[in-house]
Symmetry: C2
DNA sequence: TATTGATACCTTGTATCGCAAGGTACTAAA
DNA sequence: TTTAGTACCTTGCGATACAAGGTATCAATA
């Protein structure tokens, strides 16, 4: 059992909850993509740009997110994403779905 | 917010933990594929044959599972899968990984 | 004994999704 | 004017789940 395997298992498990994590972070504060990446990294959820950008675009196209451009004093302008009402609805559904799964696993592992 | 969306969210979340669920069920009792499907269905984890069969083969090829054939009184013979020692090791790693993710989500949603 | 229904196995083609790698553009400092 | 830092985005690949379809065995029944 090497670290590669463990990392792979974790990575597999994280997949299903990535969207949930992103909406959760944005529920607290608006954020731009690079900021999201570092916040999720702090929470031990590794996301890379090639994953995040398409995902944010998807969520925006589905009406969960909007964005606005803001100038930065330290580089190019930033695209700040924020939750829409629909995004908040989806987030609540995700809360329910997540609780269900956690309960299910609890029972399976009992 | 229609049911389709909700189902999709749940389906996404389940994806990452399917392997974990299968090993968890087999940790209690050996089982054959159709049996696994109905046990997981009872636990509200929907898996279809086209998903399960390749997955079991993968897990077997990775040394987590073995199988034996057993005659059935009610149809064709059954392929009973059981955990190997390696499978039990992986399952323990999955337990750890799962706990980590649950904690992470807890913190993100606080 | 031929057929049907139930059970159980498995494969193929498609779509989705995350990741690795590479690319563009703006700003400030050297 | 070149370099470093920040921030955006795209393309190609591999893995995986699902839908749909296929094969094989057994028991009951017509």
């Amino acid at each position: 059992m090497n670290e590669n395997n463990i990392d792979n298992i974790k990575s597999q498990m994280r997949k299903g909850v990535l969207e949930y994590c992103i909406l959760s972070v944005l529920d607290k504060n608006d954020a731009y993509a690079s900021e999201l990446i570092s916040k999720l990294k702090d929470a031990r959820i590794i996301v890379v740009e090639g994953t995040l950008y398409p995902l944010l675009t998807r969520q925006k196209n589905q009406g969960m997110l909007t964005y606005r451009w803001e100038e930065s004093t330290q580089g190019p302008p930033r695209k700040y994403y924020s939750l829409t009402n629909k995004g908040r609805d989806v987030l609540r559904e995700m809360d329910k779905a997540w609780k269900e799964i956690v309960e299910t696993i609890d029972i399976l592992r009992k």
